[in-house]
């Protein structure tokens, strides 16, 4: 499938993650200074130049497991910590939100407008920090360079690649259920009314021409939907009105983020087989992670800045309960690094992971190597 998909996947999921974290930071009344620091640290890490270079190289998408590992690291790029249950929920929400946005894009090219909506919002989060702002603008320009001249067919291929990545995910999100954009079976509602995409005519007209090209007959028909003409096209420039609402922040303090785990996904027989068999791509995924992580510079928290734990649930009890009751088929299985195989590969990854060491949680171990591998296995 398309080798140009990863930057869009990463940036949009990252954007959704920031919306959710921002909402939870305010809901948990974390002091303004601390909250801003967390957001700044994460955004700085996300838009790191070396990291972006790796991201924009043509490459196939890797597994959900590999990608999840990157977001785990990102979420912990600052003084904030999340428990496993909260991290799981965060990832569920991020992925379902972006899946919805990709599915509902009126034109394949509008996936770029969705991305720009996320970037516009990220720029607003860090509007007081000119350094980070520059980094984000740089990425913006890279996106414009890389994607502006792609054809509709190439965008559709990117969209298909993304949809395949999200296939069979049907986690119910309460904000979607409330807004009636998702059904109780987890599938999204596809509207058959409203404005048609820019460049599409409202369905209902047949025009017939003779061999000279003159129109000889015009017939109207009922197509079944209730569509209207679109107002205007969104802007693909660095600044501008995107018009499209997909990709803008749908959370606010009064609209909490919840998910329902029951009756979520139907797995085909092939999916369970995939989980049981050894993953032939594991080595390539490790390569990918090593390259990406190599570019992720994590700021070490200084001693004077005490950390805090963010909870994606309303109470600690709820979080504990969620951890215990998460269905097996929805667990994000970590990448199991078998220390006996490919020692050199693992050492390289372990070295890079060493830069991400969590300092405020005491660990008991005999050697640094074991420590790091154990830490990765715990993800």
């Amino acid at each position: 499938m398309s080798a140009r998909t990863l930057p869009l996947l990463f940036l949009n999921l990252g954007g959704e993650m920031l919306y959710i974290l921002d909402q939870r930071l305010r809901a948990q009344s974390i002091p303004g200074e601390k909250a801003r620091k967390v957001m700044n640290d994460i955004i700085t890490t996300m838009f790191n130049k070396k990291f972006m270079e790796e991201l924009f190289k043509p490459q196939e998408l890797y597994s959900k497991k590999a990608l999840r590992t990157v977001y785990d690291r990102l979420a912990h790029a600052s003084i904030m910590r999340l428990n496993q249950a909260s991290m799981d929920k965060l990832y569920d929400l991020m992925t379902m939100a972006f899946k919805y946005q990709v599915l509902l894009c009126p034109r394949p090219k509008d996936i770029l407008l969705v991305t720009f909506n996320h970037l516009d919002a990220i720029k607003d989060f860090i509007r007081d920090s000119p350094n980070i702002l520059n980094q984000v603008d740089e990425t913006f320009r890279q996106l414009i360079d890389m994607y502006s001249c792609l054809s509709a067919g190439e965008f559709q291929l990117i969209r298909q690649t993304l949809l395949i990545f999200f296939q069979d995910m049907h986690i119910r999100v309460s904000i979607f259920l409330k807004d009636k954009v998702q059904n109780s079976n987890g599938r999204f509602v596809l509207p058959i009314s409203g404005p048609v995409p820019w460049g599409t005519e409202v369905p209902g007209l047949i025009r017939m021409f003779n061999c000279n090209g003159d129109e000889v007959k015009r017939v109207e028909f009922t197509n079944g939907g209730n569509y209207i003409s679109p107002q205007r096209e969104g802007s693909f420039d660095l600044y501008g009105d995107r018009v499209l609402k997909l990709g803008t922040n749908m959370y606010s303090v009064s609209r909490p983020v919840e998910t329902h785990m029951s009756g979520a996904s139907k797995s085909l027989a092939s999916h369970t087989k995939e989980n049981a068999a050894p993953n032939p791509l594991a080595k390539e995924e490790l390569n990918f992670l090593a390259r990406l992580m190599g570019g992720l510079e994590i700021k070490k928290p200084n001693g004077s800045e005490p950390g805090f734990r963010l909870n994606l649930f309303t109470t600690d009890e709820e979080e504990e309960h969620a951890a215990l009751t998460r269905p097996e088929e929805l667990s994000y299985k970590v990448i199991n690094i078998q220390a006996t195989q490919d020692q050199q590969q693992n050492e390289e990854l372990a070295r890079i992971m060493g830069e991400f060491e969590v300092t405020d949680q005491p660990r008991q171990s005999t050697s640094k190597g074991d420590d790091l591998l154990a830490m990765m296995d715990e993800l």
């Binding site: 490459q59 190439e154 509602v189 599409t200 061999c211 939907g225």
Partner: protein, 292 residues
């Protein structure tokens, strides 16, 4: 014998009905199609790595054509897409670079050869269709479509010759069908266009769908046309030619909404077009409709 052309559907269909094939196929299929020739039926699968041809029961792979693989992966995707049998002896398959590969198929056995490469398209091939109706001598019997929306019309006796080219108008032509010298083309902006195959002249435009059209099918005995799109709708039409003027006509017959489903594959289930089936993204079922 229902098979749809779509990025999501072939994997589902092949794994459900040909589990052995799915298990041994090296890469997930991009597209699958049965090619009916006078002496045999072959199942053709395309993917990012190449083209596989199987006996129709999926038991034996009779041919494998590898696409050039470059390391590191280029920014432009590499794949094969667009499958059609032509002139009772060829199977044509399109590629992402715009080439159309023509394979010569013997009446039995594995001695399949690449006999010609058609190089008229500059953008990725999206679909290929051969004439499924009446074919008066000297007329067109193959249409190829690409990402830019351009169409090429071919005659294939012994060798392929280009009859005419139809220019793009700014939207991807995602699917194409050829029936009684009428080209039906579906586009990414939801429009269906009808062209005269021999001259390439535009004969009708239909603002048929509110989203990307993924599938077109024609019922050869009646000229019924089916279109399936991401707007959840299957629309049924009737193609005809006016006996007085020779003008090509199209009328709307029926709408069917497959609720909350972006359709990616749809086909008639019989040659008269009295029943049809559809499937879509995230759907693990094929939904079938029949006239009562």
């Amino acid at each position: 014998s229902l098979l749809s052309t779509s990025p999501f559907f072939p994997l589902l269909y092949v794994t459900a009905n040909y589990p052995m094939l799915a298990a041994t196929a090296p890469f997930p299929p991009f597209q699958a199609s049965w090619c009916v020739l006078p002496s045999r039926v072959l199942l053709v699968l395309t993917s990012q790595k190449g083209i596989q041809m199987y006996e129709s029961d999926g038991s034996i792979m009779v041919y494998w054509h590898a696409l050039d693989v470059l390391e590191p992966p280029p920014a432009q995707a590499v794949f094969a897409r667009g499958i059609a049998a032509a002139s009772g002896r060829f199977i044509c398959v399109g590629t992402s670079s715009g080439l159309v590969l023509v394979f010569d198929i013997p009446s039995k056995g594995t001695n399949i050869t690449l006999s010609e490469v058609l190089q008229e398209h500059r953008d990725s091939i999206t679909d290929i269709a051969s004439e499924v109706g009446e074919n008066p001598d000297g007329a067109a019997d193959l249409v190829t479509a690409d990402d830019s929306g351009a169409l090429c019309v071919w005659r294939s006796k012994e060798e392929f010759s280009l009859l005419t080219k139809i220019s793009a108008f700014g939207w991807t032509c995602s699917s194409v069908k050829l029936w009684n010298g009428v080209i039906a083309a579906g586009y990414g902006n939801g429009q269906i266009r009808l062209y005269e195959a021999t001259s390439g002249a535009l004969r009708a435009t239909v603002s048929a769908h509110a989203r990307w059209i993924y599938a077109l099918d024609v019922a050869p005995l009646t000229g019924k046309l089916l279109s399936g799109a991401e707007d959840s709708y299957v629309q049924i039409w009737k193609l005809s030619r006016s006996p007085d003027t020779g003008d090509i006509e199209i009328e709307h017959c029926h709408s069917e909404c497959v609720t909350d489903t972006q359709l990616c594959g749809a086909r008639f289930c019989d040659p008269e077009g009295n029943s049809f089936a559809a499937t879509g993204y995230d759907l693990s079922e094929i939904v079938r409709y029949g006239q009562v």
